[in-house]
Structures are given as C-alpha cells and as structure tokens.
Amino acid sequence: MEELATTEIVLDRTALASFVAYLVVVVAIGVFATRFASSGLAEFFVGGRRMNRFVVALSAVVSGRSAWLLLGVTGMAYQIGASAVWAVTGYIVAELFLFLYYAGRLRRFSEAYDCITIPDFFAARFHDTVGILRVPLVAIILVFMVSYVSAQFVAGGKAFSASFGLGSTTGLLLTAGIVLLYTVLGGFLAVSLTDLIQAIFMIVALVILPLIAIVDRGGLRPVVDQLAALDPTMIDPLALSAGALIGFLGIGLGSPGNPHILIRYMSIRDPEQLRYSAVVGTVWNVVMAWGALFIGLVGRVYFPLPDLLPAGDPENLYVTLARQELHPVLLGLLIASIFAAIMSTADSQLLVAASSIVRDLYQGVFRRGRRLSPRRLVVYSRVAVVLLVLFALLFGYLAQDLVFWLVLFAWAGLGAAIGPTSILALYWRRTTRAGVLAGLLAATTVTFIWRSDERLNDSLYLLIPGFFAALIATLLVSLVTPAPDDADEMLDKMKK
C-alpha cells in the first residue's frame, strides 16, 4: 500500500466526473438512512436486525476484503503464481461455513438477549455483569479496529494522491471525511447499502481487468504457456512449502473473530435466509478472488520482472495494468474499486469501534442498569464516530509505524481472540466465563509474542498458533471451572 503514491495516474475529466458521482451517491445514501439510524442503538449499530439477505451477503463479504484483495492478492499471484490460490481458499471456505452454521446461532441468540455487539453476546452468554469479559474484549477490539481504520485512511489518502495528484494529507482527510459523513449520518444501514454498491464496483473491476488483459495477450493458453516458459512454478499450485500452505489456508481462521464481519450476520431480518446469503456471498467471494488471481498471473506476462513496475512493487500491478489496458472511464471505475475496498472496510470497523465505546463501555459498564434515552445514545454514538475518526487520523499521522505494525496482525489478533471463544460459546455447553477470559488472554499473549519474534513470525502465520492457544486455553479452563447451569437453555435459543 505504501508504494501506491508512486503510481501516478491522474484521471481525465470523464473518469473524474464518474468518480465524483460515485462519491455523491455514497454520501446521499448516508443522508437517506439518517432518519432510520436515529431511532435507537440497534438501528444505528445493527440496522434494527432488519437487513435484506442480499445486502447482508455482500456487506459481510466486502467488509472483510480491504485493499488487500485488490493490491495484495494480485501482487502475490504476480510473485508466486497459481499457489496464491490457497491464500483465498481458506477464508472463502471459512466464510461459507460461518454463513451456514455459525451466523444463524449468533443471530438468534442476539435477538433473544438483545445483543447488538460481539462483547454484548459474550456478556449475555456468560452473565458478565461487571465487565470481566466486556472490558478485555473492548480493549482488544479498540486497539485493532482503530489501527485498522487508521491504516485504511492512510491507504485512501495515498490512493487519492496517486489518482488525482493531490497531496497525501489532503487525500487522507478526504477519505476520512467521506467515510465519516455517511457513517455518522446513516449508521449501519448506510454502511451496508454503500457496501452493496462497493461490492458491485469491486466485482466488475475484478472481472473486467483480467478478461481484457487475457484477451489482449491472445487468450488464456498463450498466457499460461508464457508463464510456464518464464517460470514453471508459476502454473504449479503446489509450488510452496507445507508451512506456507498451512499459513495461507489459516487466513480463514480470522473470519470468525473479526467483529466487523460477524456483526453483519446479526443484522439479517430472518436467520433462515442466511443460507441464501451463503450462496450469494460465496459466489461473490470466489469471483472477486479468482479475478484478483488472474490479474496477478496475466500481469506477470505483461511485466515479467518486478523492476518493470513502479517502485518495483508487485502491489502496484493492479493500477499499472489498468492504466495500460483500460479506457479512461473504466480506469475511473477501477480506481473507484480501490476506494470501495478501503471504504467498505473502514466504515464497518468504525461502527464496531464506536459500538464498543457507547454500547459496551458506556451503557454496559459505566451506566449499567440505568434507563437511557435511545435517541441520546444515538447522539453519543455519532459523537463517538467523530472522535474515533479524529483519533484514527491523529494516530495515523503521529504513529504511522505503530499503526502499520498493529495492522499487520489485526486480522490475526482479532481472529485468534474472538474466533475460538465465540465458536465454543455458540456450540459447547460446557464453556465458562473463566474459560473465555483465559482464551482471550492466551490469544493476545501468543500473537504478540509471535509477532515480536522474527524467527517465530517467519516460521508460521501467527493466527494459527494464536487461534489454537486460545482454543486449548478456553477448553482446559472451562473444564476445571464449574459448569454454567443455564447453558442448555441458552444453546436451545440459538437453534431454530
């Protein structure tokens, strides 16, 4: 992402006009959703649990896919060839199972116990009245989510700078300003509806670009033949070590622990419809991912050596190839797809962070048991969104190195802490509050240690040891602590 600014595009007038129109539509959605979002916290943070199955499918999928898919996966396929397929397979399969099995349980429980955040779910499931689980969960979510949001803004700033010749600080402020505007006005509904548009932008760009590029190079067979001639491992999906294969597939372990994805499942009107969302979400995930992979492969034929790309960085392939092959209007669409990826992730993460402050800390801990006006809570939530944006901007400006260090393992940190504990909380009656607390501590400790030690970090993707450490810690501590007496009733409420 950091090298994006080196790829100067500077869009022509038509492309610029279509891009501005796209931004106007996104903000208009925020205005449209304002009234609905103002009625209460459930409306502001989970769309009143009334979201359409198609919207939930696409929103869940694109919230989890940041610019990593467009720039990172294309760059990875460019570098290592067909074996990059395993980096997308893990999360796509994991999210299929989440839609089909995990999501329905979480959705039913959250309605039965009025949960609108992931810490809410844990607090209700384990009778956490004093914040033993809420507080560490909020701490984990805030640290990683704010870093995530901050990094998305920085990436957006660089994309703006590269596309429009603006200074990166102006670009950073513009990205933050647009996301802030529609999120603060329209809350979850605006975020989900804009995700819908952004999902369409992303899939169109990821289908058009590889198709045009492959046709331009004479078709798929000549492309594959040229790849094989360049380096036979480029067309071998198994040309990677066992550790790399496990690490790639292990990316999928992050999906059940990232609250900006999970909250989408809680927002669907009818949990039975999650099966439909599973199909739509999987098709979308697959088409986007394989589009990115084909861009990487055909890109290698265009630019056989990384030195031919700006700054020698494979992450610049997506924009460089588009600039070479696409009509200015399509180029505008492709640039919009990068913003779509950035904004669809940042807005969801921003709402999750704001909900942690207002719902979990303010309402759940500091003002617990007191009657609070729903409209006032929405006002506080909007203030929290504004403050978080300011904080993320400041954090990105003052401590960019720390932000990027944290973001490198935000997916893993959240996935290891919340993934195994939430799966056990949803499926295993014997899970206890102490067990979950032990799981959260184990995950955080192991991921931080793993990330800090270069040798460990290079040996295996840190999410895998973090995830299994949390799983084992939760299992063991749950077994040695007294079994909860109402778990049967709670798990029954999760079933149909």
């Binding site: 979201m51 299929l96 089909l100 067309i235």
Partner: protein
C-alpha cells in the same frame, strides 16, 4: 496447461460454489423463500 493449474484455477472455484449450493439447499425451500426487507 497442466492438470494442477486447471484444478486450482477452474475446478476449485466451481467446487466451492457447488458446495455452497449443495449445503445451502440441503434444507428444503431455504433458497426459495423471499425476503422483502431492506432495513
């Protein structure tokens, strides 16, 4: 084009989508019922 390449780049995505359809449709009628809400 090698068999491995065809499997990874063409058969695998089709297999994942087919698995999604199969698992989702195991419950009769789950894909047929409408959902009229948009939030």
């Amino acid at each position: 084009m090698t068999l491995g390449f065809i499997a990874a780049m063409f058969l695998l995505p089709v297999a994942i989508i087919a698995a999604a359809f199969f698992l989702a449709s195991r419950k009769k009628g789950a894909l047929d019922r409408g959902n009229s809400s948009s939030g």
